[in-house]
């Protein structure tokens, strides 16, 4: 049938343009070449983080190392599937659940467990049902949906720390918000520049949304102390700012879920009506399953529900409803005390290995003769070490040593192993001496 169709098309084309000499199989191609709407496009740049992986994959150097994307690796450099995740998956498989649509807001049970996990079971606002949320496509998806809702609700700007995760700007810009920054990091001293942070926060227009990394700031690994968080909270109150928490490392930073959520919980206790993104990519190792939540704390239960109903209006024309599998895994674990305990141990194990590697890397840098101050590597918390290497040094490290990290000098500590720590230390030392 298709062949017949082609010949009739050719006959009619011949009648119109005398193209009877064009061989049958090239008719489609020829037409496309001459009239293709895509003919004048520019090649878009590679993503600064994910594009790194693409470059790395094309490198054939045997000792190449990638410390780019924030994905955990075990000491053998291999991806790690948490045993509690595997156990949960096995149980789910035996249940032979259906794959029906889960609803625009996703799995209600999953969202409920996740909010308890994030806000704490004893969170008063949660108990009063003033915390309501939806399942989101991990962190990115939640940020994008919230950004779009803020814009719909009259927001024009959002304030993010300088520096911040490489994708934040693109997400919020595409949501229609102008991205501004507040001071955060002092590169000279490799530490939190709290005085400048406070000064900038006080200048932010009332009512603005302010993005805060709940723990394990990406890329710097420098978090405010609890006292500093309290001061940030006061300023937000005075200025009437909307705290927008991005929590991608709960449990993964200190090894303890409650500790890592302490800043968020304190804000909610203090009466802030926050919005929060939770990602389960790193702490549950569910990267590719895109599991997360987006939630708001409302003045009342009704108000929070209204916001959720508006979030659904953003989600439906974007992807209709979220994927089930990863959410089911998280829900299985969080709702089973024994699996939950297993998770705590396994997540803490990941955090511990990373901490060990921080110490090891710092020692090796000293051992290879570097005279630079590398204290920040052990001072910082979470997945990344913000090395302080310049763009040029990073490029040299890629080209000469085939060690790949992002141009801002951010090193994913999860990619450091006892097997490659020496090599990495040597490479860093070589480009920075």
């Amino acid at each position: 049938m298709i062949r017949q169709v082609s010949s009739s098309v050719i006959r009619s084309l011949s009648a119109h343009g005398g193209k009877s000499q064009v061989p049958k199989k090239f008719v489609g191609t020829a037409r496309c070449l001459s009239t293709s709407p895509w003919a004048n496009y520019e090649m878009a740049p590679l993503d600064p983080i994910i594009g790194l992986t693409e470059q790395y994959n094309q490198d054939s150097f045997p000792q190449k190392v990638i410390v780019g994307v924030g994905a955990y690796r075990d000491d053998g450099g291999k991806p790690y599937i948490l045993p509690c995740v595997r156990e949960a998956e096995d149980r789910l498989f035996k249940k032979h659940l259906d794959m029906e649509y889960s609803g625009i807001a996703g799995d209600a049970n999953f969202v409920e467990e996740s909010l308890k996990f994030g806000y704490g079971e004893d969170c008063v606002a949660l108990q009063e049902n003033r915390v309501q949320g939806v399942q989101a496509l991990s962190g990115t998806g939640g940020l994008r949906v919230m950004g779009e809702l803020l814009r719909k609700n009259g927001h024009r700007h959002i304030y993010v720390p300088n520096p911040t995760w490489g994708n934040h700007k693109a997400i919020f810009t595409n949501a229609g918000l102008e991205v501004k920054t507040y001071a955060y990091y002092d590169a000279e001293s490799s530490s939190l520049d709290f005085d400048s942070l406070v000064k900038d926060l006080k200048d932010i227009p009332s009512g603005s949304a302010v993005l805060l990394h709940a723990c394990a700031h990406n890329p710097t690994g420098m978090d405010p102390t609890m006292d500093q968080w309290k001061e940030i909270s006061s300023i937000c109150k005075e200025r009437g700012l909307l705290p927008f928490f991005d929590m991608a490392y709960q449990g993964f930073a200190s090894g303890c879920a409650a500790t890592d959520a302490a800043a968020l919980r304190m804000f909610v206790d203090e009466g802030h009506l926050v919005c929060t993104i939770q990602s389960f990519s790193k702490n549950f190792g569910l990267y590719g399953h895109r599991v997360g939540t987006l939630s708001v704390v409302g003045a009342t239960e009704e108000e929070a529900q209204k916001v959720v109903s508006q979030l659904k209006l953003v989600i439906r024309p974007m992807y209709s409803n979220p994927p089930r599998h990863g959410a089911r895994i998280v829900q299985t674990i969080l709702s089973d005390p024994m699996l939950r305990e297993d998770w705590e141990v396994q997540c803490a194990g990941m955090a511990a290995r990373i901490n060990t590697m921080r110490t090891v890397l710092r020692e090796r840098l000293s051992a290879v003769g570097s005279s630079r101050n590398w204290n920040h590597i052990t001072k910082q918390i979470g997945m990344f070490a913000f090395s302080g290497l310049s763009k040029e040094q990073v490029m040299k490290m890629r080209e000469k040593h085939h060690v790949y990290c992002t141009l801002d000098g951010r090193i994913s500590m999860a990619g450091v192993t006892s097997g490659n720590a020496d090599y990495i230390a040597e490479a860093i030392h070589d480009v920075s001496k």
Binding site: C32, A39, M43, A71, R86, L137, D269, L286, G288, Q310
Partner: protein, 437 residues
């Protein structure tokens, strides 16, 4: 005495609050914060999913769900295809990792998916394909791409179309218009109207075409009609954006259901394709699909890929891997693929069977209307011709849940509820028109 005690207690509490450094009003929202969300109105429920919600909440034991387009067995249950379940088992045995997929998704899956749609000999070297969150995600990415790179052009969707199309494309920033499609007075395709609207649309417009099993009407152009549609599209330099959500599910033969798409590519149209595996693989909630752009050369393909990635990354970074792994596993294994084709055909066959039985039953219970369109239509839905009032009556009096445009999901029918539904439909349509709504 009581007053004094209360006084003491409040002094004590105040003192305690000072010592602990918290406010007694700890859980009361800050003033500024309290005003942030207070003017947010309640969002309206989604037309289709809202009805599904209403169905769940309904307590009538006779209730029937013929609303959402999800397949049901003859027992009225969701069905996970055995080949899909088998694939999941294989994935577990292989200890599949859970790493991030690339922004563009699982390349091996995308290859299989595109071959499934475009054919085994598809010119994949010049088709830019990305994994998406099922059909909605594909339409969104495709629409965003068109809005960015063919700015100012209007997208034309059929009247009627799937309820979410308009919202998706408007969210992309596109202007959405309609072309005539269905003639309700004939309960059939308004082909002349369709062709005329395609021919009069401004040059270079985007035409959204349902690849097969048009939703909600179930009414597809014939191959000859498709050819005329392609001619008009070519003459007007339009772009053909196919939405394929029912390949294999419509006729039971996935090669046949892909005929219109493949003929368009052969005819040299600039083609985009939004592909969903929700229905034909039963993967609904796992959100599995692709968006592809047929380019002229491999170099163009690379350019387009790079731009599609720029749309995806700030939206959700990368797609979910479970559903795509399942499809990849099935389509990479010959026996499993064969098993899949049989299972998909069985779904289509049960639906065709139910169409026939519904019309028979309607006549049996006394309806004198011409219901032939119900058996002629193809795919998941029957576009009955009932008015919104009749639909409301069906829901309120008979607890039969359908969308208010008269669309019935045939998959929701079975031998247990067929007579009930037929009687109810007859009751609300008897003596009234089903061709003037």
């Amino acid at each position: 005495m009581a007053k004094a005690t209360l006084g003491l207690i409040s002094v004590f509490l105040y003192g305690w609050s000072v010592v602990c450094g918290f406010s007694l009003d700890a859980s009361t929202p800050t003033k500024a914060a309290a005003s942030l969300w207070q003017d947010v109105p309640q969002g309206p429920p989604d037309a289709i999913l809202g009805i599904a919600q209403a169905f769940r909440a309904c307590e009538d034991p006779k209730k029937v769900n013929v609303c959402v387009g999800a397949y049901r067995t003859s027992e009225g249950n969701p069905w996970v295809l055995p080949s899909v379940r088998k694939a999941e088992g294989i994935m577990l045995e292989n200890n599949e990792i859970k790493e991030y997929l690339p922004i563009e998704g699982d390349a091996a899956f995308v290859e299989k998916a595109l071959q499934f749609a475009y054919g085994k000999n598809a010119p994949l070297d010049r088709i830019a394909g990305v994994q998406t969150l099922s059909g909605t995600g594909a339409c969104r990415i495709g629409g965003a791409f068109l809005n960015a790179f063919l700015p100012g052009r209007t997208i034309y969707i059929p009247d009627p179309s799937w309820g979410n199309h308009k919202k998706i494309f408007e969210a992309c920033g596109l202007t959405v218009q309609t072309y005539r499609y269905y003639e309700r007075s004939q309960n059939g395709l308004d082909f002349e109207g369709m062709l005329e609207d395609i021919q009069t649309a401004p040059k270079g417009s985007i035409m959204l075409l349902h690849a097969c099993a048009h939703n909600p009407t179930g009414c597809d152009p014939t191959p000859a009609q498709w050819q005329q549609i392609y001619q008009s599209i070519l003459e007007r330099d339009h772009v053909a954006f196919f939405d394929s959500a029912y390949q294999g599910f419509a006729s039971g033969d996935s090669e046949q259901d892909a005929g219109a798409l493949r003929a368009a590519v052969d005819a040299g149209l600039p083609v985009l394709l939004a592909q969903s595996f929700a229905k034909n693989f039963g993967l609904y909630g796992e959100r599995c699909g692709t968006l592809s752009v047929v380019c002229g050369t491999a170099a163009q393909k690379d350019l387009v890929m790079s731009q599609l990635k720029c749309i995806i990354r700030p939206m959700y970074s990368s797609p979910p891997r479970h559903g795509s792994s399942i499809v990849k596993t099935v389509l990479s294994d010959e026996p499993l693929t064969e098993q899949y084709y049989e299972e998909c055909a069985s779904m289509a066959n049960r639906i065709v069977d139910m169409r026939t039985k519904l019309v028979e039953k309607l006549h049996e219970v006394g309806s004198t209307h011409d219901w032939s369109h119900v058996t002629q239509q193809i795919g998941m839905f029957a576009f009955t011709g009932m008015s919104s009032d009749m639909c409301d009556q069906l829901t309120e009096e008979y607890s039969i849940f359908l969308t208010r445009d008269g669309r019935i999901s045939i998959a929701g029918l079975n031998d247990n509820n067929l007579e009930y539904v037929a009687k109810a439909v007859h009751a609300v349509t008897d003596g009234k028109s089903i061709t003037s709504n």
